[in-house]
Amino acid sequence: MLQAQASVPVQEAAEPTYSPIVDFWRRLRKNKLAMVSLVFLVTLSLVAIFAPLVAPYDPYFSDMPKALSSPSGEHLLGNDELGRDILSRIIYGARISLRVGLIAVGIALSVGMVVGSIAGYYGGRIDIIIMRFMDIMLAFPSILLAIALMAVLGRGVENAIIAIGIVSIPEFARIVRGSVLSVKENEYVQAARAIGNNDFQIIFKHILPNVMAPIIVRATLGISTAILETSALGFLGLGVAPPFAEWGTMLGSGRGYLFNAPHLVFFPGIAITLTVMAFNLLGDGLRDALDPRLRR
């Protein structure tokens, strides 16, 4: 995503200029909350990737005598209703949450970018048709639409990715369309056309790289929404099916033990909250660092 920024030509200026990427990084680094979030997310990703090495126990191993036991030195976050180690399940759960969040946003971003830039670039009837369709999708509360899609697709990680990816498309399409509209009359676009670039080249080589900033920010914040939606689907019993360790599914199955073993729902919720918060803070930080108008 940083390449898009880097491809913006560096302007000759009187004051010393840094390449945009260096400049961006200097600004982002000053934002302590964003940096803490970045470190947290990198660590979480590493933990997720190396889950088999990091997790203290097999997340699927059921130690029935230990069922519902509270956090202890042996099992730091306690055991669930089937005696499985909650910490290990949360570690494996990070794999699912991050994967669904990243891929779903990736799908929504790719489709939204193509659809949104076509609507913004060509305008006219194509624009009206595409945006009316997006309006129809926006007429549903997104979680409800995701629920309805899961109902027809069936449970599973891939289906959750598809459902959440689909419901996030309109938001990206709108943002991309707005951004394309804002720059398509600029001189560099006309110049690109004058030297014989085709529409495809103009959109992808000249327009999109210059409007990436708000899109990157929206994508980062979109990951947090996607993670929240994944967990909501899991909680409702419509998302990733058991025995897979998914944070929302863990919350849903732990719900029955609210009175005698609240730690079953406490820790997965903390994991979701921290991850979502980190993406939110990173998104805010990226917005401040990428948008020169906000520079103080």
């Binding site: 997104s142 409800l144 697709l153 997965p268 909250t273």
Partner: protein
Amino acid sequence: MLKYIVKRLLLLIPVLFGVSLFVFLVLHLFTADPAAMMLGQHATKEQVEALRESLGFNKPLYVQFGIFLSQILQGDFGTSLMTRSAVTDELLTRFPATIELAFAAMLIATVVGVTVGVISAVKQYSLFDYLSMVGALLGVSMPIFWLGLMLIIFFSVTLGWLPVSGRIAVGMEPSTITHFYLIDSLLTGNWEAFKSAVSHLILPAVALASYSMAIIARMTRSTMLEVIRQDYIRTARSKGLVESVVVFKHALRNALIPVITVIGLQMGSLLGGAVLTETVFSWPGIGSFVVNAILAGDFPVVQGGVIMVATVFVVVNLIVDVLYAFLDPRIKYS
């Protein structure tokens, strides 16, 4: 103004048509066989075939959609497989519960959100400002169903102050006038029922309000901060006006317009959140009903419920847009 409202109302027609078509297509194209889905795994081939016949699923898709459309225009969403009664009736009896919950949440979110936002802006960089912005960050990051569970653990299980679930204590239901328990119990002067209804409403409403509250508090704070730096505020202060008059009469009034937009947008998202909150608190509204319908494969309820919620969502957004245009004369009605 009237022209604008009429234009917006007319635009509702294609959107609602699109919504119905979308739901219809998703449910009919993506499910291999809705009739089989409705009957479950243990149905015989003959049963599936008979149901398909009686529901018209063997007709071409466009004919089916035509029939479906003419039925929903008459308010007929078919029969629920779970309860064997009309989907429309089922949805309408649950509708007031969802609206009551959403309104209570909106009220809490607005009152607390605006108050916190104003204080944070006036006392920028104070401990209060710091803590409330951390709270707002938590509010947008916490899954509301998890917050709901935490509230139950703390206020119901540990402290025993508030009930765990439901809309009112069993047998306490007030005589129905409006189907809104708070209003009905007040109208009939049934204080016990009112108290019970309020105590059942608090936790789900707070859980549902959390996200919107955080958004409203942030928005109020940032617009207030912007307004406070304006010249007319300096003028008001230099005239020697009391600080409270400056804050409430001069600053807040001008800061409220963007806040109202956000409040309106949140109204819609509360409907989505209600699906989750209702499930956590076994609140007998549309959201929990639709979720149960999905889990039970009750196809007509899913179809009707989703279309109904989307319709309410679109209408709410329209009302907000119109109100907004009404409040801010600078907005063009074209």
